[in-house]
Symmetry: C2
Subunit: 100 residues, 2 copies
C-alpha cells in the first residue's frame, strides 16, 4: 500500500478551516478514484511542548500507479484546486510506502 | 482511537538511521503496553518538490489514558531514551484523535 499524507499546520482561524475541511474538502477527497481508505486525525497535542499541526489526512491506494492516476484525474484536480483555495500556506504533502 | 505520530526529517546518514530504527528502535516501540497498532511509512516523495521527511511511525491506543500509561511506563521510557540517542534532532512528535 502507498499513502498520501496531507499535514496541516495550525490555521489562523481553526473554526473556519474545520468547516471548509469537513463540508467542502473531505467530500472531494472521498471522490478520488481507487481510494482504499481515508484516515483523518485531529491533532490534540504533543507529549512535550505544543503541537504545531492541526490535522493530518492520510489517503491510501493499492500502489503508486493507482495514486498517480487518482492525482491526475479530474477528481484529483478538483481536490488540489480546493486545497489551494483554503490551505495553500499551511499544508505539507508527501507520500510513502506503508511498511507495517 | 488515539494515535501518537513520530515524524522524522531526513537523517544525515539514512542507512545508519534505518539500521538503528529497524533493529533497535522498532522492537522497543512494539513493547509499549496497550499498543493496538503500529504503522510505519517510509517516505518516498512528494507530489510537488521534494519530501523533507524520511519516515513516519504511528502508534495507536484505545484512548488517551492508555497512551499516557504507555508513555510513562518503563517500556515507554526506554523508547524515549533510545529515540533521543539517535534522532533527537530530526523527530517531531504529536498525537491526535483518529476521526475517520
Amino acid at each position: 500500500m502507498i499513502k498520501l499524507i496531507a499535514l496541516y499546520r495550525k490555521p489562523a482561524d481553526a473554526a473556519a478551516f474545520d468547516k471548509h475541511y469537513n463540508e467542502i474538502h473531505t467530500p472531494l477527497v472521498r471522490k478520488y478514484p481507487g481510494l482504499r481508505k481515508l484516515e483523518i486525525t485531529r491533532v490534540t497535542g504533543a507529549p512535550i511542548g505544543d503541537a504545531k499541526f492541526h490535522l493530518m489526512a492520510e489517503m491510501y491506494w493499492d500502489d503508486k500507479s493507482a495514486m498517480d492516476a487518482a492525482l491526475s484525474s479530474p477528481e484529483g484536480k478538483a481536490v488540489i484546486k480546493d486545497l489551494l483555495s483554503f490551505a495553500a500556506d499551511i499544508v505539507t504533502i508527501f507520500h510513502g510506502d506503508v511498511a507495517a
